[in-house]
Each structure stands twice: as structure tokens, then as C-alpha cells.
């Protein structure tokens, strides 16, 4: 069956079997491997992309269901070469460890912030509750999304010259730190994560 899917703004026409899943269409047919193929059972959420305006677990959608529709993947998140504020915030707040869940986490985060620009931590947790970080790095993922909200509103200011991975060591921008009271290293291990502002710095 011939389908045309607009992925990250570009039309892609392919002949596919009806049973081809969207995640495999993106990764194998189009070579967009930023979306990860995880559990295959719609439990882990590593394959989340946007179909039109909402995130979807792409292992649970047929590619033919995306015919004539728009798909946005993590490759489409950075517009015009500039990182999306969500990407900046994940870099600054050490929102990833192994990185397997990260593209999908960021796609859901972008959707959350588009619909709720100033979420509470509980709302962030609810939004990503269908996605698994097997490194169990949830605290920093939540911090990253909350910080991205500040970026969106302009409250966080620019972070010139920051490269992925450097943000955590820097400890955030003055006034709006990712880690109140210090960097993760100052917090004295996992227990410290549960006491915002209770670091030793």
C-alpha cells in the first residue's frame, strides 16, 4: 500500500505492508533512529513521537494510519539548528543517563509544555507516567522539564556556549538553578534528591 507521511516537515512516499508499525517505518524505512524501539508492548514509551499534534507510542500505530498525516520525531525538535528549550534543559539538568528514554521523554515534555506552560512537578510526573527510565533518573527528568518551562517563558535566560552534559556541572543559571543548593554531587547521593534546597552547598 502506498502512503505519504510528512515527517518533520518533509513528505515521504513509500510502499509498505499494512502491518508495518510506525516505529519501524521511521527507523528502518526513513533511517530516523532517534526514536527508540523498546518494549513492543506500549508500556515503556521509548518510541513516543508526535502524530499530528499529540504524542503517540509508535510501536502501537500502523504506518498506514499515519498516511496523509504529520509525524514529528526528536530529529525535528531542534528548529533551524537551535536546540529546543526542552533539549537545552535536559542538557543543563542532567536529564539523561543512558539516553535510551530521552528522545521520547523530550517529545512528551514538549507536548506538555505546549498545553501547560507552567506545570507543577506532579503534572510533569503524570505526563511522563507512561514512559520508563530504566536508569531511574526521574528526578532529573522532572527538573529538566520544569526548567524547560522557564526557558519557554524566557525566565531562565540564555545559556551561551553550553554543550550537552555540561549543564549539571554548571548547576544552572543564577536564580533558577536546576539543583537548588548545589550540583547533584553536592546533594550527598539519592537521599538528597528528595529534599529540594536541602543540599550541603
Amino acid at each position: 500500500m502506498k502512503i505519504t507521511v510528512t515527517v518533520n516537515g518533509t513528505d515521504h512516499a513509500r510502499v509498505v505492508e499494512p502491518r508495518l508499525l510506525l516505529i519501524h517505518f521511521l527507523r528502518d524505512d526513513l533511517g530516523l533512529t532517534g526514536s527508540h524501539w523498546g518494549c513492543d508492548t506500549s508500556n515503556c514509551g521509548a518510541c513516543v513521537v508526535w502524530l499530528d499534534e499529540a504524542p503517540v507510542k509508535s510501536c502501537t500505530v500502523l504506518a498506514v494510519m499515519a498516511d496523509g498525516r504529520r509525524v514529528t520525531t526528536v530529529e525535528g525538535l531542534a528548529a533551524g539548528g537551535a536546540l529546543d528549550p526542552v533539549q537545552e534543559a535536559f542538557a543543563e539538568c542532567h536529564g539523561l543517563q543512558c539516553g535510551f528514554c530521552t528522545p521520547a521523554m523530550m517529545m512528551t515534555a514538549r507536548w506538555l509544555l505546549d498545553n501547560n506552560p507552567d506545570p507543577t512537578a506532579a503534572e510533569v510526573r503524570e505526563a511522563i507516567s507512561g514512559q520508563v527510565c530504566r536508569c531511574t533518573g526521574y528526578e532529573n527528568i522532572v527538573r529538566s522539564v520544569l526548567r524547560a518551562a522557564k526557558h519557554d517563558s524566557g525566565a531562565a535566560g540564555a545559556v551561551p556556549g553550553l554543550r550537552p552534559g555540561e549543564g549539571a556541572a554548571i548547576g544552572g543559571v543564577e536564580g533558577l538553578p536546576c539543583f537548588p543548593g548545589g550540583t547533584p554531587h553536592d546533594l550527598g547521593g539519592p537521599r538528597g534528591d528528595h529534599s529540594p534546597g536541602g543540599g550541603t552547598a
Binding site: 500500500m1 505492508e17 499494512p18 502491518r19 508495518l20 508499525l21 519501524h24 513492543d40 508492548t41 506500549s42 508500556n43 514509551g45 513516543v48 502524530l51 499529540a54 504524542p55 503517540v56 507510542k57 502501537t60 500505530v61 500502523l62 498506514v64 494510519m65 512528551t108 507543577t120 506532579a122 503524570e126 505526563a127 507516567s129 507512561g130 514512559q131
Partner: protein, 303 residues
């Protein structure tokens, strides 16, 4: 790698077109809506349709509206639509209670109300909620449409009265005065199927329970209903002792199975406790006795 077996794929452009396709391919065809139950089952070969009829392109099946004293929900309305509906929240709080604990926000964007009901999974939450609310389902077929009580909709696990060449198009809920409703679910982790769940809807008149519906999920209750407990409550004054007794009756008459989610005895315990709690909350929401505390609708705090 899990991939469905081969099938033919058809896109329906209208209800009439969908019915034509279903008639042509019956009984080998299945309707594809959100796909979030059907596609995983097809991967596991628990479902192996020869033809999928995709109804997502049908205009006019995704709505939630008030008409003729009823709330009407189009079959393609999503879980997220229902959760976002102020009318549903105002008149049928049980639906918002249930939707908050169905899957996760991403899945709720795509899973549909009609699809969930037709999938008829014994652990699916809305079947019990609609049974408690005493709603009805509109089913369209080649010979026209018919309306079926929510309590007569399911014929068994994964089975409904919808024929192979028919489709569910609308769910109807009567808006009646003096009502309150609630749903509570115990699960192992966020987004999981329930270990057990209960929902209640009450209609008060002159300080007494004029009508009541109790739905039970995942515990082997016939048609998702605790009919004996409902019968016990009819005409009684709403009070904690009556709610506790109704819980006992519901627990005695359901038929849970021991499985990886827990032993049958624990599930009976949940039915006993959850039934009493949802009745108490439903009565409080219906403006029942002033002394009745309004308990949290959730078992765990949601900040």
C-alpha cells in the same frame, strides 16, 4: 520483534461505508479505532483479523455533547476527550475518576471510548462505569440502529452484542437530578490494569437512595455489575453501615480469579472496601447527609 500477522487494510469514510466493508468481509473483519488494545493483541496473535476497517477518518464520530436530557459520547471520542469534558465531570464524576487512572496521558490521547467498550476486556474500567451509570449504547448495522443497555452490552470476556457487520456509534447517559458518582481502582503501578476496582452512582430523593448502580472491574462480576448489592441499597437511607453491608454483599457475589495481580481473597477484600468507599463518595457528591465526610476519590494523595 512483535509484528501482527498479515491483513488487508481498508479506510472507511463514513459509517455507511464502514458497514458496507464489514458486511463484505464479515466475519473476518475488525474495526480499527485507536488500536491501542487491538494492535497489541494482533502482535500476540490473540486477534488475527483478515481485514482491518480503519474508522479514524470518519467525520462526526468524535464528540461529547448534551442532547435531550442525555450526555452523548461519540464512539471515536478519546479517553483524553472524556477527561477534558466539563459536562462529563459535572454530571458523571465517576468518568473523570476512572479516566485519571486509565493507562497514561499519551495512551489516553489515542484510545477511544467505543474501542475500549468493544474490546470488552474484563479489566477495562469504563464498562463498569457505564454499567453503574445505567447508560446505553447505540449500535448501527445494515438494517438501521438499535439501542442496548450498558448492562446487556457484554456477553462475556472480549465479547459483546455488536455483530460482525455492526458498529457501536454512540454511548448515551441520562442526566438525572440528585445524582453523585465515584470510581476507585487499586493497581500495582501507574497506568496498569486494576487488581480490582469499583464504581458507584446514586440518585437520592427525599433523603433515601432512589436508585443506585454499582460497577465492578476485573473481579468476575456478571455484566460488570453488583446487582445484589444494588438491590439491598434501594430505598434505604444512605449511611456507612448500609455501604459496608453493600460491600459485603458485592464481595460475596463477585467471582475473582487468582492471578499474577493477586489472590482471589485479596480481590474480594478490595471489592468489599472499594464498594463501601465509592458509595460514600457518591452519596456525598450527590449532596447526601451533611455529616458524611467527603473522602478523597483517590487512594493515594495527588498533589
Amino acid at each position: 520483534m512483535q509484528v501482527p500477522a498479515q491483513f488487508e487494510y481498508e479506510k472507511a469514510t463514513s459509517v455507511a461505508h464502514a458497514l458496507t466493508l464489514l458486511t463484505r468481509y464479515a466475519p473476518g473483519a475488525r474495526i480499527l479505532a485507536g488500536g491501542h488494545s487491538l494492535i497489541p493483541m494482533m502482535k500476540l496473535r490473540l486477534a488475527q483479523p483478515e481485514v482491518l476497517v480503519d474508522i479514524n477518518g470518519i467525520k462526526g464520530l468524535r464528540y461529547i455533547e448534551r442532547a435531550d436530557g442525555e450526555l452523548r459520547i461519540g464512539a471515536l471520542a478519546s479517553h483524553a476527550d472524556l477527561l477534558a469534558s466539563p459536562e462529563a465531570g459535572e454530571h458523571f464524576t465517576i468518568l473523570h475518576d476512572a479516566e485519571r487512572v486509565i493507562a497514561d496521558p499519551v495512551v489516553r490521547e489515542w484510545g477511544t471510548i467505543g474501542g475500549s467498550l468493544c474490546q470488552a476486556d474484563p479489566s477495562e474500567d469504563l464498562s463498569a462505569a457505564f454499567a453503574a451509570l445505567k447508560g446505553s449504547m447505540v449500535i448501527n448495522g445494515p438494517d438501521g440502529s438499535r439501542e442496548v443497555s450498558a448492562r446487556a452490552f457484554h456477553t462475556g470476556p472480549y465479547e459483546t452484542v455488536v455483530g460482525p457487520a455492526e458498529m457501536l456509534t454512540e454511548i448515551r447517559l441520562p442526566v438525572r437530578p440528585g445524582s453523585g458518582s465515584a470510581y476507585l481502582k487499586v493497581m500495582r503501578r501507574a497506568g496498569d490494569w486494576p487488581i480490582g476496582a469499583a464504581g458507584a452512582a446514586v440518585w437520592l430523593a427525599d433523603g433515601l437512595i432512589a436508585d443506585v448502580g454499582i460497577g465492578l472491574t476485573a473481579v468476575g462480576a456478571s455484566h460488570f455489575v453488583a446487582a445484589e448489592a444494588e438491590e439491598f441499597l434501594l430505598g434505604r437511607a444512605p449511611a456507612d453501615e448500609a455501604f459496608a453491608q453493600a460491600g459485603e454483599i458485592a464481595a460475596a457475589h463477585c467471582n475473582p480469579a487468582s492471578d499474577q495481580r493477586g489472590p482471589a481473597e485479596y480481590k474480594r477484600h478490595l471489592v468489599r472496601e472499594l464498594t463501601a468507599r465509592v458509595l460514600r463518595t457518591a452519596v456525598a457528591r450527590a449532596g447526601g447527609p451533611a455529616h458524611a465526610p467527603v473522602p478523597s476519590p483517590s487512594l493515594r494523595p495527588r498533589s
